[in-house]
C-alpha cells in the first residue's frame, strides 16, 4: 500500500490583507496518525488544512511532507488529496468518471482508468451505483464516493475538511467509524478538520485545538481531556470548569489562588509569582455536592439550572466568580439527594481533580 508521510508545519502564517488568519504555527503530525484540527469557526483550522493541501498560499513559513518541502508545490504534486466539505463531486459525471477524474487528467487510458475507478468504488462498496450521478446518492454515499476519488491518487496524506458536517447525527457516527477503520487499514496520515469535540475525541490520535489563529494545545485526546493546556481548551472541550483569579501563595508543589469574589482554591503546580493571573480547571464529573473537607477544594453556590440527561444529571451553579459552574452527577447520586433551582449547595472536589491551566503568549 502507499507510504504515509509525516507532515511538518514550520512557523506557518496566513495573512489576508490586514487580518492574520493563522499566526506562525508549528506542528509535527507523525506519519500514519489520525490528526484532528478542532476549534470554533474562524479559528484558522480550515486555512491551515488548505495550506497543507496547497489550495491556499502560505504567507510565511514552510510545510514539509516526508522529506520534501512542498510550500510552493501545486496541490496535485504534494502527495496529498483533499476531501471537500460538500464533497465537491462533479455533478455532470457518473461515479466512475468522478473517481477516475484525476487519472484522466494524468492521461491514463480510458479502459485502464475506469477499471481502477471501479476497484476503488468496490473498496467503498459503491460498485452497484457506479453509473449513477452524484445527485442520485444520499449524503453517506456521496462521502464514500468522495473518499474513493481522493484515495485513487494513492496519497500519502488525506485531508478532510469537515467531512461529517453534512450528515445527520446517526450517519455521522457510522461514517466516523468507517473513516477510522479506513485510516487504520490504509495506514496513511489523515488530517481532519472539525468543530465537534466528540468527533475529534472519537477519531484522533492527536488533537490540535486552535483558537484565533494559534494552536492552544496539540496532544493525544487523553492528554487534552485530562490536562487541558489553557483555559480556552478547558472551556471548549467542556469537561472542566474554569476558575480565574490571582496567585496568593505557592510552594510545596501547590499553588493557592484567590478569585475576585474572595474564595481561595488550591491546585497542584509549580511555584508562581504572587499576584500573577491564573486559571484552574476543575473536572465537571468529579465535583460532588458535599461539604468540602478542605476549604480550598470547594465552595458554596446557588443552583441555577438542572438538566436531566438519563445516566447523568447536569447541575449548573453560580458562585466563585463563575455563573455556569457545571456539576455532572450520576443519576444515582443525584436522586439520592436531589437539588432544585435556587438551592444553596456545597461543592467539593479532590486536589487531583483540579488542573493548573497555562496561558499562551499572545
Amino acid at each position: 500500500m502507499s507510504k504515509a508521510a509525516e507532515i511538518d508545519i514550520v512557523s506557518v502564517s496566513k495573512i489576508y490583507g490586514s487580518t492574520t488568519a493563522v499566526h506562525s504555527i508549528s506542528l509535527k503530525i507523525p506519519s500514519g496518525s489520525y490528526c484532528c484540527f478542532l476549534g470554533p469557526s474562524g479559528c484558522g483550522k480550515t486555512s491551515t488544512l488548505r495550506m497543507i493541501a496547497g489550495h491556499e498560499s502560505i504567507s510565511s513559513g514552510d510545510i514539509r511532507l516526508g522529506n520534501i518541502v512542498v510550500t510552493d508545490f501545486p496541490p496535485a504534486k504534494r502527495g496529498t488529496a483533499m476531501m471537500f466539505q460538500s464533497y465537491a463531486l462533479f455533478p455532470h459525471l457518473d461515479l466512475i468518471d468522478n473517481v477516475a477524474f484525476s487519472l484522466k487528467m494524468k492521461g491514463v487510458e480510458k479502459e485502464q482508468r475506469r477499471a481502477k475507478a471501479l476497484d476503488m468504488l468496490k473498496l467503498m462498496q459503491m460498485e452497484p451505483y457506479a453509473n449513477r450521478r452524484p445527485a442520485q446518492l444520499s449524503g453517506g454515499q456521496q462521502q464514500r464516493v468522495a473518499l474513493a476519488r481522493a484515495l485513487i491518487t494513492d496519497p500519502e496524506a488525506l485531508l478532510l475538511d469537515e467531512p461529517l458536517s453534512a450528515l445527520d447525527p446517526f450517519l455521522k457516527i457510522r461514517m466516523r467509524a468507517e473513516l477510522k477503520k479506513l485510516q487504520k487499514s490504509l495506514g496513511i496520515t489523515f488530517v481532519h478538520v472539525t468543530h465537534s469535540q466528540e468527533e475529534a475525541m472519537a477519531l484522533a490520535d492527536i488533537i490540535v485545538i486552535m483558537n484565533d489563529g494559534r494552536i492552544e494545545q496539540a496532544a493525544h485526546p487523553r492528554e487534552v481531556f485530562e490536562r487541558p493546556a489553557t483555559a480556552f481548551v478547558a472551556r471548549f472541550m467542556g469537561d472542566h470548569n474554569v476558575l480565574t483569579g490571582r496567585v496568593v501563595a505557592s510552594g510545596d508543589g501547590k499553588v493557592t489562588l484567590e478569585v475576585p469574589e474572595g474564595q481561595t482554591f488550591t491546585v497542584a503546580g509549580p511555584a508562581q509569582e504572587p499576584g500573577a493571573p491564573i486559571d484552574i480547571g476543575v473536572r465537571t464529573d468529579r465535583v460532588r455536592l458535599a461539604t468540602p473537607a478542605e476549604k480550598t477544594l470547594g465552595f458554596h453556590g446557588v443552583v441555577s439550572n438542572v438538566e436531566y440527561r438519563g445516566a447523568s444529571v447536569k447541575i449548573t451553579v453560580i458562585g466563585a466568580g463563575s455563573d455556569d459552574f457545571t456539576v455532572i452527577a450520576t443519576d444515582a447520586d443525584y436522586f439520592e439527594k436531589p437539588v432544585a433551582v435556587g438551592d444553596a449547595v456545597p461543592l467539593c472536589w479532590g486536589l487531583e481533580d483540579a488542573v493548573l491551566l497555562g496561558r499562551i503568549a499572545a
Binding site: 496535485a76 460538500s86 465537491a88 462533479f90 455533478p91 487528467m105 481522493a150
Partner: protein, 308 residues
C-alpha cells in the same frame, strides 16, 4: 392549491358532512386555478396563437395584385419550396446564423468567463455586467447604422489606414458585404450569449474547481472537463436566443449588405411589399418549422431544465 383544499376537506369532514360539500369544495378549487390561468391564456391566445393560426390559414389562400381569396391551395408552398432562390436564401441565412453563432459563443463565453471567474467582488461583477448592457439603451437600428461611418469607403477605418500608409486605397469589403452583416449581427447579439452563460458560470460551485485542481487538472483541463460541461445549459439558452434572432433578421442584412445579400425574412418583407401576403405567409410557416427544428435540436443535445 392542494394544501388549501385538503384543509377544506378535513374541516368539512370534521363537520360530519362529507359527500356533496367536499365535491363542491373541490370543483371550486379547480375553478379558482383555471381562473388564475385565464389572463395569461387570453394574452397568449390573442397575441401569439391567433396570429400564428392566421398566418397558417392565409398561407393556403389564393391572391392576385388586387386581393386575397380564401381557398385551400398548396401553390404557395410549392412555389416557395420549388424555387432555387428560396433555397439559396435559406443557405445564405444559415451561413449567417452559423457564423454569428460561432462568434457570439466564442466572445460571449470569454466575456462571461472573465466576469464570473476573474472579477473578485460581486459589486464589480454587477457594475461590469451593467456596462455590457449599456449599448441596449439605444435602438438596434441606430447601433447598426453607426457602423456605416466607421466602415464606409471614406470611413474611420479606411481613412486611418490610408493616413498611416498601411493601405494605398480604401478596403471595399468593409461595408456592404457579408463581413459587415456578420460584424453588426455579432455586435447586436453577443449580450444574449453573455447573460445566460454568465448566469450558469456563477452557479458553479467553486469547490468543484478546487477539487479538479486537487486531482491535478491544469487550467485548460478544468475549463474543458468541468466548466464547459457545467455551462452547457447557459450555452444552449444563449444559442437559442442568437439562432432565432439571426434566422428572423431582415433589417441588419438589408442595411449592412446594402441590399446585396438576402435573408429569409428579407425575402418575406419583399413579398409583403408586393402584397403577396399568402406567399409571405407560406414562407413564414416554413421558416417557423425550420427554426423550431433547430431549437429542438439544441434542446436534444443539452438538458436546460436545470436552468428554468
Amino acid at each position: 392549491m392542494t394544501a388549501a383544499f385538503t384543509e377544506d376537506e378535513t374541516q368539512i369532514e370534521a363537520a360530519g358532512k362529507p359527500g356533496l360539500t367536499t365535491r363542491i369544495g373541490r370543483t371550486a378549487a379547480h375553478l379558482a386555478s383555471y381562473l388564475q390561468a385565464v389572463p395569461l391564456a387570453l394574452i397568449l391566445g390573442f397575441f401569439f396563437l391567433l396570429p400564428i393560426l392566421m398566418i397558417a390559414v392565409v398561407s393556403f389562400w389564393d391572391y392576385d395584385f388586387a386581393g386575397l381569396y380564401p381557398d385551400f391551395l398548396t401553390m404557395n408552398y410549392t412555389d416557395t419550396l420549388g424555387s432555387w432562390v428560396t433555397w439559396k436564401t435559406y443557405l445564405n441565412t444559415l451561413k449567417y446564423t452559423a457564423m454569428v453563432w460561432g462568434l457570439t459563443l466564442l466572445i460571449g463565453f470569454w466575456v462571461a468567463y472573465f466576469l464570473a471567474f476573474h472579477i473578485r467582488t460581486t459589486t464589480m461583477q454587477m457594475v461590469l455586467f451593467l456596462v455590457c448592457t449599456v449599448p441596449f439603451l439605444t435602438s438596434n437600428i441606430i447601433r447598426m447604422i453607426s457602423w456605416i461611418p466607421v466602415l464606409g469607403r471614406n470611413g474611420l477605418v479606411n481613412t486611418t489606414l490610408i493616413e498611416m500608409g498601411i493601405i494605398p486605397q480604401p478596403i471595399e469589403w468593409l461595408l456592404y458585404s457579408d463581413f459587415a452583416v456578420v460584424l453588426a449581427m455579432v455586435h447586436l447579439n453577443t449580450l444574449f450569449m453573455v447573460t445566460p452563460i454568465f448566469n450558469t458560470l456563477m452557479r458553479i460551485d467553486r469547490s468543484l474547481i478546487e477539487a479538479a485542481r486537487d486531482a491535478g487538472a491544469n487550467g485548460w483541463q478544468i475549463l474543458w472537463n468541468v466548466i464547459i460541461p457545467l455551462a452547457k445549459p447557459g450555452i444552449a439558452i444563449g444559442s437559442i436566443f442568437v439562432v432565432t434572432l439571426v434566422m428572423a433578421d431582415f433589417s441588419t442584412v438589408q442595411v449592412m449588405s446594402g441590399g446585396q445579400s438576402a435573408s429569409v425574412a428579407l425575402m418575406m418583407k419583399n413579398q409583403m411589399s408586393l402584397l403577396q401576403y399568402p406567399a409571405a405567409a407560406a414562407n413564414a410557416v416554413v421558416l417557423l418549422i425550420v427554426v423550431l427544428l433547430m431549437v429542438a435540436a439544441i434542446l436534444r443535445v443539452v438538458d436546460i431544465r436545470k436552468e428554468l
